[in-house]
């Protein structure tokens, strides 16, 4: 039986109350998603991110909560056991900060630990707070006006220096180095 024949057979015989569960749905090919579109049954797809195309646009999206810290720690401990690694709680605590709430990254970091590779953060749950810090420095410029009003030269200068520091950081922040490795 060819793949097309199989698809046709399933489409003809699948009951209306059947539930199709498709893990890693992001990997489904266009041919499969078109076929799924015509199926008369319930479909549940799992994916790390929602692809904005064909059948996925029609689907209702339910975002699952990230695994909590305890869960990630358990994953790392299990992976360490599987790898035959004896890692202290202090080291787990440190490695966990590289994994964030990403279970796959947690496993990968333990494997890297086994190979003795240099660790870099492996998740992407980052928030760049450089605008916050620069904004705070600039907001200190408010004291410049308080100093101006009250005749306090120190406040006037501190406010001015902070404001200039914030602006300088803003421009320095535009200096961007290569994020990719050589050959990437």
């Amino acid at each position: 039986m060819t793949l097309d024949e199989l698809k046709e057979e399933i489409a003809l015989n699948i009951p209306a109350d059947a539930l199709l569960i498709l893990p890693e749905a992001k990997r489904l090919t266009t041919l499969i998603t078109f076929w799924l579109e015509d199926l008369n049954c319930r479909i549940c797809c799992f994916a790390v991110a929602r692809p904005n195309r064909d059948i996925f646009i029609k689907m209702i999206e339910i975002e699952l909560a990230l695994p909590d810290d305890r869960h990630i720690r358990e994953i790392m401990q299990r992976e360490a056991e599987n790898c035959g690694l004896n890692i202290s709680e202090a080291r787990f605590s440190q490695l966990q900060s590289y994994a964030g709430r990403n279970a796959a990254a947690a496993r990968k970091i333990v494997k890297e630990e086994k190979l003795g590779l240099t660790k870099d953060p492996n998740h992407n749950q980052y928030l760049d707070i450089s605008p916050l810090i620069m904004g705070m420095f600039c907001c200190l410029g408010i004291v410049r006006f308080i100093g101006l009003g009250s005749g306090d030269r120190s406040l006037y200068m501190i406010g001015g220096i902070a404001m200039m520091l914030g602006l300088a950081l803003k421009y320095l922040g535009r200096v961007s180095g290569p994020r990719r490795r050589v050959g990437q």
């Binding site: 990230l66 810290d69 305890r70 990630i72 720690r73 709680e89 202090a90 787990f92 605590s93 440190q94 966990q96 900060s97 590289y98 994994a99 964030g100 709430r101 870099d120 953060p121 998740h123 749950q125 980052y126 928030l127 760049d128 707070i129 450089s130 810090i133 306090d152 030269r153 120190s154 200068m157 501190i158 922040g173 200096v175 961007s176 180095g177 290569p178 994020r179």
Partner: protein
Amino acid sequence: MSVTHAAISAAAVGLSLGTVDPLVLAVAIGASQIPDIDTSTSSIGQILWPISRWIEKRYPHRSVTHSLIFTVALGLISFGLWWRYQIDVKVAIALPLGHLVACFSDTFTKAGVQLFWPSPLWCVFGLNPKRRLTTGGTGEYWVLVGAVAAIAINFGLINGGGLGQFTAESLGLRSGLLENYQQNANNKEVFALVQGTFLADSSTADGRYFILSQAGNEFILMSQSGIYQTGLAGQISATRINTELGQPSLRQILPLTFAEEEILPKLVLIAQSHPKALILATGAITIDSPEEVSIAPKPGQLETVKLAGNQLVFNHCPLPQIINKISLQFGSGSLELKIISPSPRL
């Protein structure tokens, strides 16, 4: 590294609160170590190991103890201590501020921190990890050097009268000099380091003068050669003046009135009772025999005594000079004596 955290927090707290109070800095340094209580590999974690082991079993490094919630909790503790035991406000601020600075400084590292814990976001300064610091790396040592330099600068600024005073002195701002004089003249000798010229002959007036008093925005100065006033209405045109504090010194003002009486005895008595003091008189006395007083004005110097009709007018006139001029005069009037004790070394 704990040393870097300590240096950064001490520098930031010291500079922001304008203090070098050892207690404030010690609290800031202590607070900077609190975040790393979440790992038993840190210094504080090794000291308080039951707490650090409990935390590290449950949370990732740089999560709960590096969060703003933790800073707020420390702030509440500080507020409680301030409210209940009236501890110094700067000490109370140093605790949460030291912690906050340490947490923010960790955002410059590769791993970042969970500032907004329990949110899973890791806060970093710049998204490119290659542009962030590695803990214990070369970059961190440069940060440590910078923080220590900032502490040293703060010590210098505070000892020099604060940032405002330091800038005023560096730029030679007159308002800052007047402020410095007003703040210190009552308990310290204040000297003026003058760069300028004498208006009379345009010769150089560069030198170190003792500041006798302030005249508007100008100073009345004294050197071994005489008494001068700065400004175009005076005798010295100063292009730049810096102040310098000297030995402890006490200034007091003594009013003196005369009512148709002999002037000399009162002045001699005051001079004898303050043998090591510099006494300057300002005011006017109407005397009975002005023809017996001879005044030879010193060119290029402040006219400390002048005769107007039968009235002797004094302006920062040293007491020995008055005693020499007035022998057996009777008169009435009032003088204000400025007694500077001990007499400054010129």
